[in-house]
């Protein structure tokens, strides 16, 4: 029942996001425009708003699924893709690219993909030698903080204020001005990444009883760890590459699902992916609805929306836990 309501809210939010923009359109107008092939309406809906909405949905799904997988692997409710540092390294690479003169979404995205690949590779190597999962958490925290310092250094050495502003702009995350090519890249990445993570649901479920018990049940913990890291790296790296840094979705989505739907633990990951998608579309709707002089950034809104939701849910958790 709750899941049904949730899905309905998600669909409605998606539809709403098609109505809102510089040119407000009523549902009937959109329907008629699309049916009659009205050039402006078709252009606005099919080439601007729909790809933007689908990209926000896919990116949110990627981050929500990745967050749920990491929380299951680390058995830690605070884990999210940002904790491992892959998105941090991707952001650092993007900032480096901008300061080196890269311009345009594709050039900057290319740097971010390269950064995500390097960060992911380093983590996968670490995962293959780490004896314990906690070692990997600490390693990831180190990598995240190294990437953060690197980004700060790039800001520090930025040649002009314009470059600094451009970097800030990218790092705050946005799905504005993206087209179907971006959607295509993210769709492939999300399918591969989420496919890997979904295939690991059973072993991740057993890891809830601890690594020793899971091993005795035939789970190859090291291999599971390696694949989760690979899947999460693909998801979070590509999300940064197509839309910059959008925080909080990965952390909040699984908790929102637990708080609102309370599904069995095995269903958390697919539901967190859906919820992540919904939250991101909702946040992007907020970006367009809140009237401001400067353009609001998606990453800012996800944090503004996600943090209070998480705080409320955290307090509610205390009621059922000792």
């Amino acid at each position: 029942m709750r899941l049904g309501v949730l899905l309905m809210v998600l669909v409605l939010t998606g539809l709403c996001s098609l109505l809102v923009g510089d040119w407000p359109l009523a549902p009937a107008e959109i329907w008629q425009g699309l049916m009659t092939g009205h050039p402006q309406i078709s252009e606005v809906i099919l080439q601007i708003r729909l790809p933007r909405m689908v990209l926000a949905l896919l990116m949110g799904m990627a981050l929500g699924g990745a967050g749920a997988a990491l929380q299951a692997l680390f058995q830690n409710p605070l884990a999210d893709p940002g904790v491992l540092g892959v998105s941090g390294v991707a952001a650092f690479a993007a900032a480096l690219g901008i300061s080196a003169g890269a311009a345009g979404l594709w050039a900057i995205g290319g740097y971010a993909v390269l950064g995500a690949a390097i960060g992911g590779l380093v983590l996968v190597l670490a995962a293959s030698v780490a004896r314990q999962t906690v070692t990997l958490v600490l390693f990831g925290a180190g990598l995240a903080s190294l990437a953060g310092s690197g980004t700060a250094l790039v800001f520090n050495l930025s040649p002009t204020p314009v470059t600094t502003a451009e970097m800030m702009n990218w790092l705050m995350g946005s799905v504005a001005h993206r087209d179907w090519r971006h959607v295509g890249v993210m769709a492939v990445g999300a399918s591969v990444g989420l496919g890997i993570l979904m295939a690991l649901r059973r072993p991740l479920d057993m890891l809830r009883l601890g690594e020793e018990t899971a091993t005795s049940l035939g789970v190859q913990v090291r291999l599971v760890r390696l694949w989760v890291i690979a899947g999460v790296s693909i998801l979070s790296g590509l999300a940064v590459a197509v839309a910059g840094v959008v925080g909080f979705v990965g952390l909040a989505a699984p908790h929102v699902v637990r708080g609102l739907v309370r599904p069995p633990e095995r269903q958390i990951m697919p539901m967190a992916a859906l919820m992540g998608g919904g939250l991101t579309v909702m946040a992007d709707l907020g970006v367009r609805l809140i009237p401001t002089d400067a353009e609001l950034k998606l990453g800012v809104i996800t944090a503004l929306l996600g943090a209070p939701i998480l705080m409320v849910i955290a307090l509610r958790y205390r009621e059922v836990r000792p």
Binding site: Q75, P77, R202, D205, M206, R208, L209, G210, E212, T213, A214, T215, S216, L217, G218, V219, Q220, R258, P264, E265, V320, R321, P322
Partner: protein
């Protein structure tokens, strides 16, 4: 039916061997207690016998099949292991913890064994409770109950009586002694040999070796 056979096991975590060249034989239908001082290597040995850790030297086999060659997916059919460290999943109910990982069992069999485990360990009224809301002793019984739900022939329990009061110790003792009588191979760590009067063997870790005392029951009979 050869049961579990471990030959020439040396365990070394990098600071000198804990156990050197020990042999262990566990026959089906027996209950074996492993005794040793704190830090003697009881848990390390259990982890090696359960296939969690590889020994520095030596081999472990179950029914003549070396553990590393047994397909991982068959492990839950072969063995159930309850470690000393039992993290409690934050949202899991008693039923979930009791059945998690036993998806290979036919549903009817699982339901029957679940019912039996709940009764034997006096957990009936907790079935739908979140494990985190239970006391230490209740949680311990839930995790031990996994070994009763599982139908695997080899049962390995680390510190099964820790955190239990006298009444619940008796429940656990009776339950696993009955499992051994029913043909399962039970190995568990023991603090006081008197805790398991029906143990068929007591293995004592002294120094880096193991001394085996077969069948303590006749001794008890003589004393009695």
């Amino acid at each position: 039916m050869t049961g579990l056979l471990a030959k020439d096991i040396t365990i070394d975590h990098g600071q000198g061997p804990i156990l050197r060249g020990v042999d262990v034989v566990l026959r089906p239908g027996t209950l074996t207690g492993l005794v040793g001082e704190n830090g003697a290597g009881k848990s390390s040995l259990l982890r090696v016998l359960a296939g969690i850790d590889r020994p520095k030297t030596g081999d472990v086999s179950w029914q003549n099949e070396p553990l590393p060659t047994l397909p991982k997916r068959d492990w839950p059919r072969m063995m159930v292991y309850v470690p000393q460290h039992r993290p409690v999943p934050p949202t899991a109910t008693v039923q979930e913890v009791l059945t998690l990982g036993f998806g290979h069992m036919p549903q009817k069999l699982q339901a029957q064994r679940l019912e039996r485990a709940l009764t034997r360990l006096a957990l009936d009224r907790f079935l739908d409770r979140a494990v985190v809301t239970l006391s230490g002793g209740e949680r311990a019984r839930v995790f031990l109950g996994r070994a009763l739900v599982s139908a695997a022939p080899l049962v390995i329990l680390d510190e099964p009586l820790a955190a239990l009061d006298r009444k619940n110790k008796a429940l656990v003792q009776e339950a696993f002694q009955a499992e051994a009588r029913s043909g399962r191979t039970v190995l568990l760590t023991v603090h006081d040999t008197g805790d398991w009067p029906e143990a068929d063997h007591i293995l004592t870790i002294t120094g880096q070796n193991i001394e085996s005392k077969d069948s303590v029951k006749p001794v008890a009979d003589v004393v009695g």
